[in-house]
């Protein structure tokens, strides 16, 4: 188990290297002149002398590979460089925002599960019943609503018309009180959760249907167990197995989708940072942000896999 985890963490390193190279080169070919952007935007009017200075200062005069290697070297000592735009230390400014993104992703995951599990299971039990079709319809509609549109609608409805919730986060940390935090995160989280909740409902439903046909469910019944025990005890845990794998896949989407959600709800997360950094061609920042996103993605996935093994004893991590 532990050896497995360690191995997995080690495995992520080459993955990270390649992914950072990918993003790095992608941005390298992207038009956009950092110097201009360092020294100001629309009105910029840079003298050669100053350009030279800046290029030296930021090592922009160096060729692609040199810059990349320098970056990687930094990564291993936990130094992601400093932002072109703000001169801030990239690592710290990403780390400042990372918890927010994770909070957002996490709570939307919780919401999604809280909705999809009961809904999916009930749908499966009342298969072809009214509830089933309702749930399925909801799920499918859920998948088919554009995220940013749904987000804005949520704001208009809950913040503007009902005035229940703030249009923008009052706080992003539990420290300022659980209620304000909840008030702030519920809308972004739900809008982010929407599509995932939908897909998961469908997933839970079908895998539950599958499991309910298995011999061991029939056998459990033949023991005379109460239906409740059979469903929530014997069937559910099995049904969760495929669901978990799906969740694993969803996480990438979550972190990605956070970009939009964060900019609609002014949620101070990494996604927003990345977007604005791309607009500023703030290479170190983009590097750092994407890298950290990838890392967190992989770590979360690792957790998911461990969970998976817990749900499914037939998988033995150490021999995988």
């Amino acid at each position: 188990m532990w050896t497995y985890i360690v191995r997995r963490i080690l495995q992520t390193i080459p993955t990270l290297l390649i992914s950072s190279l990918l993003i790095f080169s992608l941005l390298y070919v992207t038009p956009g002149d950092p110097v201009e952007l360092i020294l100001g935007t629309e009105d910029a009017n840079v003298s050669e002398e100053q350009r030279r200075l800046v290029e030296e200062q930021w090592g922009l005069d160096k060729p692609f590979l040199v810059r990349y290697i320098r970056f990687i070297k930094g990564v291993f000592v936990g130094d992601l460089g400093t932002s072109y735009a703000t001169g801030e230390d990239v690592f710290s400014s990403v780390i400042k925002r990372m918890p927010n993104t994770l909070k957002l992703a996490g709570s939307s995951m919780v919401i999604a599960l809280a909705v999809s599990l009961p809904l999916g299971i009930l749908a499966a039990l009342k298969h072809n019943g009214i509830l089933d079709s309702v749930a399925t319809a909801l799920a499918t509609i859920g998948v088919s609503l554009p995220r940013f549109w749904f987000g804005l609608v949520l704001i208009i409805f809950f913040a503007l018309h009902l005035g229940w919730l703030p249009t923008m986060p009052e706080t992003t940390s539990m420290a300022d009180g659980i209620v304000p935090f909840m008030r702030s995160i519920i809308l972004p989280a739900s809008s982010l959760a929407l599509s995932m909740a939908a897909t998961q409902t469908r997933m839970v439903r079908s895998s539950m249907l599958d499991v309910l046909n298995q011999d061991y469910v029939r056998y459990a019944r033949s023991k005379g167990l109460k239906e409740r025990v059979v469903i929530w005890g014997h069937a559910l845990k099995n049904a969760m197995i495929p669901v978990i794998t799906v969740i694993g896949g969803e996480i990438g989407g979550l972190l990605g989708g956070a970009v939009i959600t964060e900019s609609i709800f002014s949620w101070p997360g990494v996604g927003r940072l990345t977007i604005s950094s791309i607009a500023r061609r703030d290479y170190p920042m983009i590097q750092g942000a994407t890298l950290m996103l990838c890392i967190s993605y992989m770590l979360v996935n690792l957790v998911v896999d461990v969970l998976y093994a817990w749900f499914n004893p037939r998988i033995r991590l150490d021999v995988k």
Binding site: T86, G87, S266, R281
Partner: protein, 529 residues
């Protein structure tokens, strides 16, 4: 799972219980919603209006500028220019102190002196310090000398009618901060009316009253809230979560104006948005072609369509020249007289006359070359994107194959800077030197003058910027502007008046642009309760 559901339900309940509108703090707090997140708090590195709005409250500049682009006292009580036109003598206020209650100054009350001013300007003049003002400053400023503790003298290299503008742009920083390597970036300390308290990344930034300020600031607290989506910030304003919302979208105006507790205040000075030809491209090097295309587009209609609103707010006006009508040299009538009128038929005739005949697929061609190009627009302004669509469509209508394409912002700017565009939409350059940079020949850079070049215009501009007499200067600029307009390096333009929405509880706000201090000799913004 049921448990989870229960928790969620309970949670929602709690939320509803607690979800009264946020209570107003007992202290006088002004909450400003801005879409511009902080890029930097270093006074000499910032170029963004958003940063400026904050930094200008913390630091002093020698002078302030009012809505009529007249300069008003700031740190400087008075200033005059000697007859030589290059020596500026500035008298500073003697009752301004550096902000206290921080590790840098502790509790000692330190006066802001001529020494600090000299230090600041010298500091910006050293390229190694990477000031974004370096370029402009080094071009014009020769030296700065201290006359006495509260008097300072600047000498410019040549007559510079815009020197006051430089005095308005450069913040005065504490000498001690640089000596002590104090991190002004994360904890700015100045002499302004409000002190920096805290910055929660991308969420909010808080300033508090500076008791030592020579006049009692009307606010205890100023809170900037960073709201990325403009329509959301308009909603926040309606929701009374913020008192001021910068940049209300035209589409939101009616909602705001509809509320009895809200006011919409237009900016005093229009900001130029123009559709530029790349005059370096052979296709557009001929003014006649540019005229023809200009005639084909109904700019008035476009401005109307984009900015009309039931609230009747003046969001934008058609721009016939490139100098805002409120700025010296801007003049609607004379510009309008020389600008081609909307007249598609004439446009087509003219194009035919110029040899651009309709060819295969209705696209005009000349010597086998199709008149086909891309109109590039940045992706950060819905109005400009609309304009691009309108222009492209109306050009297509007369047989010009023009495609509107929105580009990611940084790509857009760099394409323009390099001149890799056929036609583009850009904005800004509405400062006092904006007209100069838009019109005068600039071999080094393509932007912002579209590669336009006209000796006569250059001559007029040069004179204008050596002319100390305000009216004469305006006249010179006007003449330059008229030549410029008549040759249409811009297909068309409009001046957009940024709309600031604010709650009626905000007092003495008038229109405090992001370029003005909330508490200054001329204004002291507060909140009624």
């Amino acid at each position: 799972m049921k448990k989870k559901l229960g928790i969620l339900a309970a949670l929602l309940l709690v939320l509803n219980l607690f979800s009264a509108a946020p209570a107003l703090a007992a202290e006088k707090t002004l909450r400003i919603g801005t879409y511009m997140t902080v890029t930097t708090l270093w006074p000499w590195r910032t170029t963004s209006d958003g940063d400026g709005y904050i930094i200008r409250q913390i630091y002093h500049t020698l002078v302030e500028m009012d809505e009529n682009s007249k300069f008003t006292p700031g740190l400087a009580a008075s200033w005059e220019c000697a007859d030589d036109g290059v020596t500026w003598t500035v008298r500073l206020r003697d009752d301004v102190y550096w902000q206290r209650g921080n590790e840098l100054f502790g509790n000692e009350k330190v006066k802001v002196t001529a020494e600090d001013v000299k230090f600041s300007y010298d500091y910006y003049l050293d390229p190694a310090n990477g000031s974004v003002r370096y370029d402009a400053l080094s071009k014009t400023m020769k030296e700065v000398r201290v006359v006495d503790e509260h008097t300072i003298q600047f000498v410019t290299k040549d007559i510079d009618v815009l020197w006051e503008y430089s005095m308005y742009q450069n913040y005065v920083i504490p000498h001690r901060a640089i000596e002590k390597k104090w991190d002004l970036g994360s904890c700015p300390i100045g002499s302004g009316a409000y002190k920096f308290q805290e910055y929660v990344t991308d969420t909010s930034l808080t300033l508090v009253k500076n008791e030592d300020f020579w006049r009692e600031p009307a606010l205890d607290k100023v809170v900037y809230k960073f709201i990325t989506d403009k329509s959301v910030s308009a909603m926040a304003l309606q929701n009374k979560e913020i008192d001021i919302a910068l940049a209300i979208l035209p589409t939101e105006i009616e909602n705001i104006a509809g509320k009895d507790y809200l006011v919409v205040a237009p900016a005093a000075i229009g900001s130029l948005r123009w559709v530029g030809f790349n005059c370096r491209k052979p296709l557009f090097s001929d003014p006649e072609v540019r005229r023809a295309l200009a005639m084909a587009v109904d700019m008035n209609g476009a401005v109307q369509a984009i900015f009309s609103n039931k609230a009747g707010a003046k969001l934008a006006v058609r721009g016939y020249g490139c100098i805002p009508y409120e700025r010296p040299g801007g003049d609607l009538e004379s510009n309008k007289a020389v600008t081609p009128r909307y007249n598609p038929k004439e446009a087509m005739k003219l194009l035919d006359k110029l040899g651009w005949k309709r060819g295969a697929g209705g696209v005009r061609t000349k010597d086998g070359k199709k008149m086909s190009f891309i109109l590039q627009v940045g992706n950060n302004d819905a109005n400009r994107e609309k304009l691009s669509v309108i222009v492209a469509t109306q050009l297509k209508a007369i047989g010009v194959d023009c495609t509107a394409r929105s580009a990611e912002w940084a790509t857009h700017t760099s394409d323009i800077a390099k001149g890799n565009v056929d036609m583009y939409i850009l904005g800004g350059y509405s400062n006092l030197d904006g007209g100069k940079r838009l019109m005068e020949t600039n071999a080094k850079r393509f932007s912002p003058n579209c590669g336009y070049s006209n000796a006569e215009v250059d001559k007029l501009i040069e004179e204008a910027f050596r002319e100390m007499n305000y009216d004469k200067r305006c006249d010179l600029l006007r003449r330059a502007g008229n030549i410029f307009s008549s040759e249409c390096p811009h297909l068309g333009a409009y001046f957009e008046y940024a709309q600031v929405g604010h709650n009626k509880r905000v007092t003495d706000f008038g229109y405090a642009t992001v370029y003005q201090a909330l508490c200054s000799p001329v204004r002291n913004v507060g909140v009624a309760d």
